[in-house]
Amino acid sequence: MEELLEILEGIAPGEDFENCTTLIDDHILDSFAILSLVSEIEDTFDVEVSPAELIPANFNSAKSLWEMICRLKED
């Protein structure tokens, strides 16, 4: 989880990623930032993110992102 928070901090510095649950709804992460995030997640956690995963429910908070990563690792 800490690695994920570091990645998020690198993409959008200064945001409260630990508590924020509206990263997509409040436009904190736009489509450009999402792609940067996906690229970093794939490299760091050795998972493959498909377009089907790119939904607000997976990207609205660090927690939901972490859950997606864990699920993809299991697959």
Partner: protein, 497 residues
């Protein structure tokens, strides 16, 4: 039949509302579907067959995809995934093939009659099939639900491009019409009619005159024509969208918003998140992300990351995908070079914005600029306004070359004094009325941008105030609407795409 004609809001819609409400709840979907197909036939007649075929393909593909089991991590699982991909590809090819045949073959001299709304319902069909393939949408067992989703009469002509999960249940559910929804829906319809009939249609003759004979006009007059077109398009498209959203609201169908005060955007990218929102969202989900995450694009980005680092490689996938997004956006509007040019214009602008975002942020931090101050906001607004107007000029011009000639004339042959002698084909009182009305819409947009709902605020007022307010708006449309003798009915611009 069209949304801005009184036959729609005063005859067709009330009749459908009455029949819908009188019908037992479990059969209300039949009334809606009958209304959908009647509305469609009133415009496109026998071409209804194309909509029915699209419905059949969409439903069939969904069911076929659901019939293929999901298995992972073995050879059989991979074969099933390939089969699923093949089924989806077949569905998309059939839908897109029909669209291309009916809409784009005229490039090769073959002109076929395209049904109304084909550009909109085709995208809805593709989104449903793709979502079922991805597993983010359950395959619908009920063909009537799919038929309702693709043909809902308020949105068939101009969108918004909705997703199955947004509207299908409400369309099929047969919920009773609530008094509040009826009132709010009609209020929004009246506001839409105001934008379309008082502003857009009043500006239409001026726009036609300037764009059809720009050679006879001074650069200053051409600029007036370009500004008028941008306003006409905004008032017309967002006004029709108000009528559409209001109609949906009456039936309790939550159609997605297509506009969010676009001229208050910070840049071109932000503008497209506020203008024709559902087309942008569709292109993002079904073109931008799939291309960005395609293996060849990812591999290229990885190679560049090794050589030049993440700061460079992070632009690779989005830029490649953006090219196809804006090419698709241009082509979607029709088989004309100026639409493709329009798409490429925004592609270049948005890539520049992406590349310069970080240096600009550093510059703002270094010089401690206040980006929220009024001066900076006005600068942002003017910059965006220029960008949008140039784009719309090329969008409306007959050819790309005409667009460039108009632009050159505005720059090199600009005499403000010439405006006094220019005959725009529109009376001065008409121009003054249009300008005042645009100002009124601007004020409403400012209020909406602050998150205030005017309809709700008015609803909280006492009865005399409420009725006076809405009577005033109705009177504005009745008295100042551009209809009757001396005016020609102006077709809905986006219904032609």
């Amino acid at each position: 039949m069209a949304y801005h004609l009184l036959t729609y809001s005063l005859i067709f819609l009330p009749v459908v509302i009455a029949l819908y409400q009188l019908c037992p709840a479990r059969f209300r979907f039949v009334v809606l579907l009958a209304a959908d197909y009647t509305f469609f036939c009133m415009i496109s007649g026998k071409l209804l067959v194309w909509l029915l075929l699209a419905t059949l393909v969409t439903y069939g593909t969904g069911r076929w995809l659901a019939a293929i089991p999901v298995r992972h991590s073995d050879l059989h699982g991979k074969a099933l995934t390939r089969k699923k991909r093949g089924v989806l590809a077949l569905g998309i090819v059939l839908i897109l093939g029909t669209l291309v045949t009916l809409k784009y073959l005229r490039v090769f001299g073959v002109t076929l009659a395209a049904p109304i709304g084909i550009s909109y319902y085709s995208l809805q069909a593709i989104s449903y099939m793709t979502d079922v393939y991805r597993g983010t949408q359950e395959s619908c067992k009920n063909p009537v639900k799919v038929a309702l989703y693709l043909s809902f009469f308020p949105q068939i002509m101009e969108g918004p491009i909705s997703r199955f999960s947004e509207t299908a249940d409400a369309l099929y559910g047969g919920n009773s019409i609530q008094f509040e929804n009826l009132v709010f829906g009609y209020q929004r319809i009246i506001w839409g009619l105001f934008k379309k009939m008082v502003i857009a249609d009043r500006l239409a003759p001026l726009v036609v005159k300037v764009f059809s004979s720009y050679n006879n006009f001074d650069g200053a007059a051409i600029l007036v024509g370009v500004l008028a077109y941008t306003m006409q398009l905004y008032m017309e498209f967002s006004g029709c969208m108000d009528i559409i959203m209001g109609s949906g609201e009456i039936f309790g169908v939550p159609l997605p918003e297509n506009f969010r005060q676009p001229f208050f955007a910070k840049n071109a990218g932000d503008f497209w998140r506020r203008w024709h929102i559902t087309l942008g969202a569709w292109l993002k989900d079904y073109v931008f992300y799939p291309i960005s995450l395609a293996k060849p694009v990812k591999n290229l980005a990885k190679k560049i990351k090794k050589k030049a680092g993440f700061s460079v490689s992070k632009f690779v996938a989005p830029t490649i995908a953006l090219f196809f997004v804006w090419l698709s956006n241009g082509i979607w509007h029709g088989p004309h070079m100026n639409y493709i040019f329009y798409g490429m214009y925004y592609f270049v602008l948005i890539v520049i914005e992406n590349l310069t975002e970080e240096p600009c942020r550093k510059l703002v931090e270094r010089f401690k600029l206040d980006t929220e101050c009024i001066g900076f906001r006005i600068f942002q607004f003017l910059k965006l306004f220029v960008i949008v107007n140039i784009g719309e000029m090329f969008f409306r011009a007959d050819t790309v070359a005409t667009g460039f000639r108009m632009l050159r004339r505005i720059v090199t042959d600009f005499h403000i004094t010439a405006l006094a002698e220019t005959n725009f084909g529109v009376d001065v009182p008409d121009l003054i009325l249009a300008s005042v009305s645009i100002l009124l819409v601007f004020v409403v947009d400012v209020i909406h941008e602050k998150g205030i709902s005017i309809r709700r605020k008015v609803a909280e007022c006492k009865l005399p105030v409420r009725w006076s307010f809405w009577y005033a708006v109705i009177l504005l449309v009745v008295v100042f609407g551009a209809y009757g003798s001396g005016y020609t009915i102006v077709d809905m611009i986006y219904a032609a795409y």
